[in-house]
């Protein structure tokens, strides 16, 4: 059940074999390029010509599209519609619905924003689909990310489902004491204390004990850490990363030169 918040899907593919940092750079490069160009279709083309083929190579095309449709499309789509309708400022009216006028310029700008969001999130989704979270964090820690930072991210991801399970138990315990959780809204506000109280207090105790537990396992030890997972970092990775750095610099330069 811990896997609910981990996108990772194990496959044997060239993308999976890349170093996590390389994949992170790739995601960043795509995002920076997508954001730096003004072209209406830039972000869309990046998704179509880069992310989709990469997902195919990673043998995760179906999973990638699944996440995109279920998770990202609703968000981006919602933003697109809302902005198109409610943000004024265009001159070329496409159609009018009562007092709402929809202009071409607004629609274009909304599409630009929505497609960039789509690119932004889906680039990271591809990273997470092909990279085990432990590997990502181990690799970043090895490159100098503070271990505390990595710990907070990973443990939060893992603990959310545990908190949900605990909240379920608390609700069950209070319902067993006659608390009616199926009542009106106003009554429900009053339910907050019996439900949130134990959750908050329990968490305080947990935080202290967990701090002792990880301390007992040398978490803040001053010795240089080692890593169980051997995270490959091949010459290919290094070449790709340099290429990406050059690509990022060029796209930023182009952006500055244009303006």
């Amino acid at each position: 059940m811990n896997d609910r918040l981990s996108f990772y899907r194990k496959k044997n593919s060239p993308i999976h074999a890349l170093n996590p940092f390389t994949k992170l750079m790739l995601a960043l490069a795509l995002i920076i390029y997508g954001l730096s160009g003004d072209g209406l279709w830039t972000a869309t083309i990046m998704v179509g010509l880069v992310l989709l083929p990469l997902a195919l190579v990673a043998k995760l095309l179906r999973e990638y599209i699944g996440v995109a449709v279920r998770l990202i499309l609703p968000t981006a789509g919602f933003m697109f519609v809302m902005q198109s309708i409610f943000i004024p400022g265009g001159t070329t009216e496409i159609f009018r619905l009562g007092f709402i006028s929809v202009e071409l310029e607004t629609v274009q700008r909304s599409y630009l924003i929505a497609s960039r969001i789509f690119l932004f999130i889906s680039a990271f989704v591809l990273l997470l689909l092909t990279t085990h979270p432990s590997e990502l964090m181990s690799d970043l820690t090895r490159r100098g990310l503070p271990p505390q930072f990595a710990y907070v991210i990973i443990s939060t991801l893992q603990i959310i489902p545990q908190m949900q399970a605990k909240a379920q138990t608390i609700i069950a315990a209070q319902r067993s004491r006659g608390l009616d959780t199926e009542s009106s809204f106003f009554k429900r506000v009053g339910l907050l204390v019996p439900l949130a109280g134990p959750l908050v207090f329990g968490s305080l105790v947990e935080v202290e004990e967990r701090a002792i537990a990880i301390e007992a396992r040398g978490f803040t030890s001053t010795r240089p850490k080692t890593f169980l997972r051997d995270i490959p970092d091949t010459p290919t990775d290094k070449v790709i990363r340099w290429a990406l750095v050059i690509f990022i610099l060029l796209s930023l330069a182009a952006r500055i030169w244009q303006s």
Partner: protein, 288 residues
């Protein structure tokens, strides 16, 4: 030479009036397996935290007297040094899962990563430790998908793998059924035989009698009794002060008043009880 050395140790938690430990004097020899018994609130956990250096390096409050464990003296050292030499596992298994790892194998390796053990050695040590506590088959499971008893063994293994000189355990079998308890006790016994010093707070008297070398009874922050399992666990004082005692001991104590227990000691284990009661049965019954 004693590996644990406590002299006149008194400790008060912050914002409290009465000391949780009062004038504790305790010496433990290397490789000894010491069980600490006592009612809840007697100071067992506080003693464990003190031995593991979390008092005074994690919990503030007032500590007086001398605490020296594995050559490290409190007040003259950092928690890192303690952690490298003294291992601590405690009761609630869920809060001991680091949350940083996705499999049991990684979870157990976490401590070794932190103290910089080379990868090859790490793998060997994790596998060996899992074998010892009987959880090899859980290696690829998520620590969160396990039962309380399984998590408790993972927590214990995660500390064992760090090979501390002194192992401090605060009720490490509370979530285990009788079979799991026996397995954990015998794993800990094995560690003691390899030279690890073990101090374990625990309620389960029958298992203590089987496995421990020495028992300390704590009451209201003070050492009430200190001796061999039989001396301590059969003491009349324990029953008077409301400690948990073995059913064998209390049945034999009653039987003695009825003239049905004729030994000059009381039993703690099934074997001792069976042996001691057998002569009380009439001869034709004995063979049945």
């Amino acid at each position: 030479m004693a590996i644990v050395n406590l002299t006149n140790v008194t400790y008060k938690y912050p914002l409290t009036e009465t000391p949780a430990l009062k004038n504790i004097n305790l010496q433990v020899e290397e490789g000894q397996f010491v069980a600490v018994i006592g009612p809840n609130g007697a100071g067992k956990s506080t003693l464990c935290y003190t031995l593991a250096g979390f008092i005074p390096h994690f919990f503030k409050g007032e500590l007086s007297g001398m605490v020296e464990v594995a050559g490290i003296e409190s007040g003259k050292s950092s928690l890192h040094e303690w952690v490298l030499n003294v291992g601590l596992a405690f009761q609630n298994p869920f809060n001991q899962i680091s949350g940083a790892k996705y499999t049991v194998f990684e979870e157990i390796a976490f401590g070794l990563e932190n103290i910089g053990v080379p990868r090859d050695e790490m793998k060997v040590r994790v596998e060996e430790a899992m074998k010892l506590t009987g959880i090899s088959d859980l290696a690829d499971r998520s620590p969160y998908s396990l039962s309380g008893g399984q998590q408790q063994r993972v927590a214990l293994t995660s500390i064992l793998v760090m090979q501390p000189k002194v192992l401090v355990l605060d009720e490490p079998t509370s979530q285990l059924d009788p079979i799991g308890t026996r397995e954990v006790f015998s794993a800990i016994r094995k560690m003691a035989e390899r030279g690890m010093t073990v101090i374990m707070a625990e309620h389960k008297v029958e298992w203590i009698a089987h496995f421990a070398d020495r028992v300390i009874a704590l009451l209201e922050g003070e050492i009430l009794l200190d001796g061999t399992p039989r001396e301590v666990l059969t003491s009349d004082l324990l029953a008077e002060k409301g400690f948990g005692i073995s059913r064998y001991t209390s049945a034999a104590r009653k039987a003695r008043t009825l003239g049905l227990w004729k030994r000059d000691y009381l039993p703690v284990t099934l074997e001792e009880a069976a042996e001691g009661f057998a002569p009380s049965l009439s001869p034709e019954r004995r063979g049945e």
